[in-house]
């Protein structure tokens, strides 16, 4: 298959307030009372990975760590567990951020799936080492749902940065 890169439009710079808002909304989503539903996506991880890939200079490991700590306390988990896995996720996203733009969205989703599964595996290892029981294979279902949502998520999060379709004839670029 030939690599097809669609002519990408030049995007407007992302607003800091928009990044913050989406991260806060994702955090809210994670803190919703989900009870024991199977396959609830870890939206915070996905949005975090998105911004690490698209705005690597503004969202990075420090923000990931802070978000993880908030989630740890909110969920009553082991303190530092999400902070750890999100920091690793952010790092991995930063590593792939130059490469991933060359792939179409569904292949980007595969990249993301790998990252998410890896972070989940890390969390699992930590908790098993700390003496918890194995939660069952359903535990990994959230990552697959999350990866499936990636195209929609990228579309939504890039919307405010798109310029209008009509090219301006007098534009310099």
């Amino acid at each position: 298959m030939e690599l097809q890169h669609q002519t990408q439009r030049i995007l407007l710079p992302a607003k800091g307030s928009f990044i913050l808002l989406t991260l806060a909304l994702a955090l809210l989503f994670n803190l919703l009372p989900w009870r024991n539903l199977v396959g609830v996506p870890d939206l915070t991880a996905a949005v975090l990975a998105f911004w690490c890939i698209h705005q690597p200079r503004r969202v990075g490991i420090g923000i990931a760590w802070t978000l993880g700590l908030l989630l740890d306390v909110g969920n009553g988990a082991l303190l530092g567990q999400h902070a750890f896995s999100y920091a690793v996720l952010a790092f991995l996203a930063l590593v792939v951020h130059r490469r991933i733009h060359w792939f179409p969205l569904w292949q980007q989703a595969l990249h993301l799936l790998l990252l998410l599964l890896l972070t989940q595996l890390l969390t699992l290892t930590i908790r098993l080492a700390a003496g918890a029981g194995f939660p069952g294979w359903n535990y990994f279902a959230g990552s697959f749902v999350c990866a499936a949502l990636w195209p929609a998520l990228s579309f939504l999060l890039l919307l405010p940065q798109r310029q209008d379709e009509k090219p301006d004839a007098n534009r310099s670029i």
Partner: protein, 302 residues
């Protein structure tokens, strides 16, 4: 003059350095939290910061409940009202006799020189949400240290024990359910007074009754109540019913599975009991010895 890169290219420390810094910070926190419990103050501060976000996250659920209540028809309400009234009426004779029995019990205990039981106080609370941590079974309730909740207090609903308060914030507390892997509760078979200890962690939210001899007198459907010998749970609260017994000749102990009586999925209202207060020991008692019960309770809180 030394060459400086323009600020455009200046990206601060390398990602790997940052990763190592933050990961070691996280590992430090985890070790402190899991092994030494020094991280509680950090947790308290972050919890206060996270509280508004959590309340906002609860808003859609509250709204849903509010709307459902609003549209609940008067007929349904009247029906529920009638049912509750019948239940209350049916319970009334027992309740009236209970007062007399309580008096009698106090008198008999006095005659026998046994320790008096003090009435325990309780705090009404609502379940805010179930924690999303798939490794532990916890719920968060809406009362905290501001309402006088202390770690270790038992939590019940209208049919039985659901668990124990394990962590207290200013405005919320975490309740570890009986089905959590690290939770244990001393029980007594209601039928014959046989004592045992149940542990959480069995599949499907069930409890394990461990270390019961294979020939122990226990049957399917037996009701187990708290025995109260741990000093944490008041005696006589229903906890679980026996759902399955496997007696294997190769094993010295029977494998007994219990189904908890109380369910956190049905109602949101719970009652936090204060741990049973013991009257002060008589003055002429021997000099105080270090109490073993404290370390036991703190181990249970994990």
């Amino acid at each position: 003059m030394e060459y400086q890169p323009p600020p455009f290219f200046n990206r601060g420390p390398a990602p790997l350095v940052r990763l190592i810094f933050f990961v070691s910070l996280a590992i430090l926190l985890m070790v402190l939290d899991a092994r030494f419990r020094y991280a509680e103050s950090v947790r308290q501060v972050v919890a206060l910061a996270a509280y508004p976000i959590q309340r906002i996250a609860m808003a859609p659920v509250d709204l849903f409940h509010g709307v459902a209540d609003y549209f609940g028809s008067t007929a349904a309400l009247r029906e529920e009202n009638d049912a509750l009234r019948t239940r209350q009426l049916r319970a009334a004779p027992d309740l009236l006799r209970l007062e007399a029995l309580k008096e009698e019990n106090v008198q008999l205990r006095r005659l026998l020189d046994a320790q008096e039981r003090l009435p325990s106080k309780s705090v009404f609370a609502e379940i805010l949400y179930a924690g999303r941590d798939p490794f532990s079974r916890r719920v968060v309730i809406d009362k905290g240290s501001q309402s006088g909740i202390l770690p270790g207090q038992p939590v019940i609903d209208d049919v039985g024990v659901i668990g124990q308060v394990t962590r207290v914030y200013l405005l919320m507390s975490e309740v570890t359910l009986l089905s959590d892997k690290n939770q244990a509760i001393p029980l007594q078979v209601q039928r014959n007074g046989l004592r045992a200890v149940a542990y959480g962690g069995a599949e499907g939210g069930m409890l394990d009754l461990r270390f019961m001899a294979a020939n122990a007198d226990i049957r399917n459907g037996d009701i187990l109540v708290t025995s109260g010998i741990d000093g944490t749970y008041p005696p006589g609260l229903p906890v679980a019913t026996v759902s399955r017994i496997e007696r294997d000749a190769a094993d010295a102990f029977a494998k007994i599975t219990l189904a908890p009586t109380a369910g956190t999925d049905r109602y949101r209202q719970v009652l936090v009991l204060s741990a049973e207060a013991k009257p002060a020991p008589p003055v002429e008692a021997e000099p105080p010895v270090p109490k073993p019960s404290r370390s036991k309770r703190s181990r249970k809180r994990e």
